[in-house]
């Protein structure tokens, strides 16, 4: 039986299936939160050691591999995913994974983290959601400065 079905049988028959690429601090904490909420979660990372960042009670799946390879995405059964979140440490990698998810596998909800806000304009037309830490932090700082 395939990885996802086996997992889904064990857990609740939740239709949500989120793939997170990159098990860094953000990826790992997102994975923990989503799995706590009862969502099916799969985390992909090239480095096996990265999975240690996942919370001890993480109830999702992991796949070790390079998520820019189509075969790895297929192994994660990306076509069943409802959302894909690309949060590796490289903007270009996130962008490529997001586009693979959107254009090849037609995933509705695709989110990519971009450190460099300059590149954002190109991805708007592809309907890929981007989160940019610099923009988020500076607006938060603004808020803290001027609300007081």
């Amino acid at each position: 039986m395939k990885l996802f079905e086996k997992h889904q049988e064990k857990r609740h028959k939740n239709k949500e299936y989120t793939i997170i690429v990159g098990c860094g601090r953000l990826g790992a904490s997102l994975a923990g939160r989503l799995s706590d909420k009862g969502s099916n979660v799969l985390v992909i990372d090239e480095n096996k050691d990265s999975f240690r960042k996942l919370p001890p009670d993480f109830g999702g799946m992991v796949v070790q591999g390079d998520a820019t390879e189509i075969s790895v995405l297929k192994r994660a059964e990306i076509s069943k995913a409802t959302s894909v979140i690309a949060v590796t440490n490289h903007d270009n990698t996130n962008v490529m994974i997001a586009q693979l998810a959107k254009e090849l596998f037609h995933i509705d909800n695709v989110i990519a983290r971009l450190y460099d806000p300059d590149r954002e304009c190109v991805y708007k037309e592809l309907k890929i959601n981007t989160i940019c830490p610099v923009v988020l932090s500076s607006s938060k700082v603004d808020q803290l400065l001027y609300q007081a």
Partner: protein
Amino acid sequence: MKTRILLVGGFEETRFLAHSLLRKGYRVTVINEDRDQCESLAAIKGLQVFQGDGSKPYVLEDANAANTDIAIALSEFDDANLVICELCKKQFHVGKTVALISDPEKTEFFRMMGVDSVVCATTTISSIIEQQALMNDLNTVMPLGSHVQVAQLIVPADAPSVGRKLWEIELPKAVIVGCIVRGEQSMIPRGDTRIMKDDRLILIVSDDDRESAFRALAGELV
């Protein structure tokens, strides 16, 4: 107006390409991240060199990407090459973008994303090695993309096609004998042109029909 070409990333192939393009009279600009490599590239006469990460819009802007006719992404990373081509196309409206990739699985995907021309180093090199190692009589002169290639074949003396007219030979569908070179002469063959031994045939052939065309013209593969 000279055609302006922007080469982004890469070193050895970039240097070689820059030389060859400059010699042909193009205006060539190079973007490279590494300082030492930039210095070495800057020694090439007439070559404009910018140091920086070519997948960043402001670096492309510095290198005047908006006034470029052809952008070629040659970095060792597939994802960077995709971003470079997309930025060039969407933000700087470069006419033609070319990407070098190493993962053959993604060739179609790159095309889908609007990259005009995708060159896969892995398949290109491995097919050349295969040809050199296995088939010396039928050489691909030029892969044309879309599974078509120009190939040449020297007809051996014992080939089944020797002495027969072109229309008598049962060739697969997707092959055209475009030219026959016989000694110093070259001719465009017609159906009633007879094939002789030592003729050099220039074929336009689909990748799939290549071997059956070879068998029909030159006999069994050794």
